[in-house]
């Protein structure tokens, strides 16, 4: 659901064009990082260390786009001196891009797990140990995708839903840790694999956190209220008040 109409254009049309370019760049980074995440999970599923190295190398492209977006932001602020909603939009893009770049970094950690598990000619892990990774990756990826859709549509209700799903993902993380601990209790020799798997699970949990952050920025963008450190009830109240006004 779209919360509000797109604002009418600026008198200075080049400002609109520059903002559009910034949004296009953000969408491109979003697309690339989410593909990186799913590719990284595929390398694990396919036990393909070479493909995992390719995923890690591709992170450079995201880093370059991150720098490009920052440069564009600085130029826009210097040239246009944006205020009000324009300023919030630009600040929001700056924060979103940082979170997306970190999603890329977390995806790299999953690829590293593939290399650790399948490139050392040691014992392969029990597939049950990796059971939770694809599901958590899908949840995290979907949270980021939905948060970005909220950004595009200025959709507050969906943003709240993304924030709520972060609790579910954290519960999944805790559940996965409990599940892994049973393997350690059964066979302490698997502890080396376990540490790497826990780090990967932690990376997936963080990806959900980045999705939640992006959803919070959307609420700031639309309402002007910073909800990063507010609880879900307070956020819901903000949305209610924003809708009423």
């Amino acid at each position: 659901m779209s919360e509000e109409k797109k604002p009418q254009g600026h008198t200075m049309q080049r400002f609109d064009a520059e903002m559009e370019e910034l949004h296009r760049l953000t969408a491109l980074i979003d697309d690339k990082v989410r593909r990186q995440l799913m590719d990284a999970v595929d390398t694990l599923r396919n036990e393909d260390a070479d493909a995992a190295r390719a995923v890690i190398n591709r992170d450079e492209e995201i880093n370059d786009l991150d720098v490009e977006a920052d440069d564009e932001l600085i130029r826009l602020i210097a040239k246009r001196q944006p205020v009000a909603k324009d300023l919030r939009d630009i600040m929001t893009v700056g924060k979103i891009v940082t979170d997306l770049e970190r999603v890329g970094d977390e995806a790299r950690k999953i690829a590293r797990l593939t290399i650790h598990l399948y490139d050392n000619h040691g014992s392969s892990p029990n597939s049950q140990m990796l059971r939770d990774i694809p599901r958590m990756a899908e949840m995290g990826q979907k949270m980021v995708a939905d948060a970005m859709a909220c950004f595009k549509d200025r959709d507050l209700e969906r943003a709240v839903d993304v924030i709520r799903r972060d609790f579910e993902l954290r519960d999944e993380f805790k559940s996965a840790l409990r599940h892994l601990s049973t393997f350690i209790m059964e066979d302490a020799r698997s502890v080396g694999h376990m540490v790497e798997i826990v780090l990967a699970l932690r990376a997936l949990e963080r990806i959900g956190g980045h999705g939640k952050n992006i959803a919070g920025y959307v609420i700031f963008l639309v309402t002007g209220r910073d909800v990063r450190h507010a609880d879900l009830n307070a956020i819901a109240r903000e949305i209610f008040e924003a809708r009423r006004s």
Partner: protein
């Protein structure tokens, strides 16, 4: 000379008004969006209060039911598109509109608890209490010293030459001009640069110890450096005076003022802390204007 000063200023005010097109004939669009003023128009320590102010030019209503407090030792910016009535409202605050025959002001404007439109009110001391700085620097064709000394002399503020010298020095110091002119006080004020002339006019205004200073686009004729100097000065002056400034520069309003009032089609659309107006305005018209979507 006294009448010359006021006449000059009134002529200039009329000139500006005619340029702006009183009431803004071409701003009918979006009139239905205005509604009641958004934000709190009252303040804890008001120096001036305006209630239900209307201004008519013959039968044309240029200001409509404006309520606004002007807080002590604060700068308030009046912003809005050309012809929105912000300059007209500013000039109500020291009755500069009285000199325009066809202009009629209704409602109540008080300086502290004094009704400035009371029939017994003498406008000459009022305009000393509520001074004005115009868009274009307008020093008298006299020496720098005389530019400052003139006001205190006609208001009887100095009994001796020493007292007058002190007023001149203090006024020029407060206007940040003393160091630049102290060795050439006998030279013509009109020989100074544009920025210096404007600061001379500010010094002239403060020489009669006003309570409120009204500024009508005081930097629009100045270069960026002179503008920065005047803006810095405005910030220092608010320690001693209450200031209302009309400006077309959004950045200037954001930089110099603590409160901002947005006018549109003669109505006060929104008023609030400048920090909030420029980050999260409530009214759509305010948002569209300050982000450059019209105006």
């Amino acid at each position: 000379m006294s009448s010359t000063t006021v006449d000059e200023e009134v002529l200039m005010a009329e000139e500006i008004e005619s340029k702006e097109g009183v009431g803004g004939a071409d701003l009918g669009a979006r009139a239905d969006e205005i509604g009641a003023t958004v934000g709190d128009y009252t303040v804890d320590k008001p120096r001036m209060t305006a209630r239900g102010v209307n201004v008519y030019y013959e039968d044309k209503r240029a200001i409509m039911d404006v309520n606004l407090d002007i807080a002590e030792n604060q700068v308030i910016s009046l912003i809005g598109p050309s012809g929105c009535g912000k300059s007209t409202f500013l000039r109500c605050l020291n009755r500069m509109n009285d000199t325009i025959d066809v202009c009629r002001v209704t409602g109540e404007i008080k300086l502290d608890d004094q009704d400035i439109y009371d029939k017994k009110m003498d406008v000459v001391p009022l305009r000393a209490q509520v001074g004005m700085v115009f868009q274009k620097p307008n020093p008298f064709p006299k020496s720098i010293y005389e530019n400052i000394a003139y006001g205190p002399r006609i208001h009887g503020l100095a009994r001796t030459k020493d007292e007058m010298d002190e007023i001149v020095e203090v006024s020029l110091r407060r206007a940040g001009l003393w160091e630049e002119v102290k060795d050439r006080l006998d030279e013509a004020g009109t020989g100074l640069s544009g920025g210096q002339q404007q600061r001379l006019c500010i010094a002239r205004t403060i020489s009669v110890s006003p309570e409120v200073i009204l500024m009508d686009e005081p930097c629009s004729a100045l270069d960026p450096i002179a503008t920065a100097v005047v803006e810095e000065l405005i910030d220092e002056l608010r320690q001693h005076f209450t200031i209302a400034i009309v400006t077309h520069s959004m950045q200037q309003a954001a930089r110099v003022s603590q409160r901002t009032a947005y006018f549109h089609l003669g109505r006060l659309v929104e008023v609030g802390p400048t920090d909030e107006i420029f980050t999260n305005p409530v009214h759509k018209l305010t948002e569209d204007y300050i982000t450059g979507r019209f105006g």
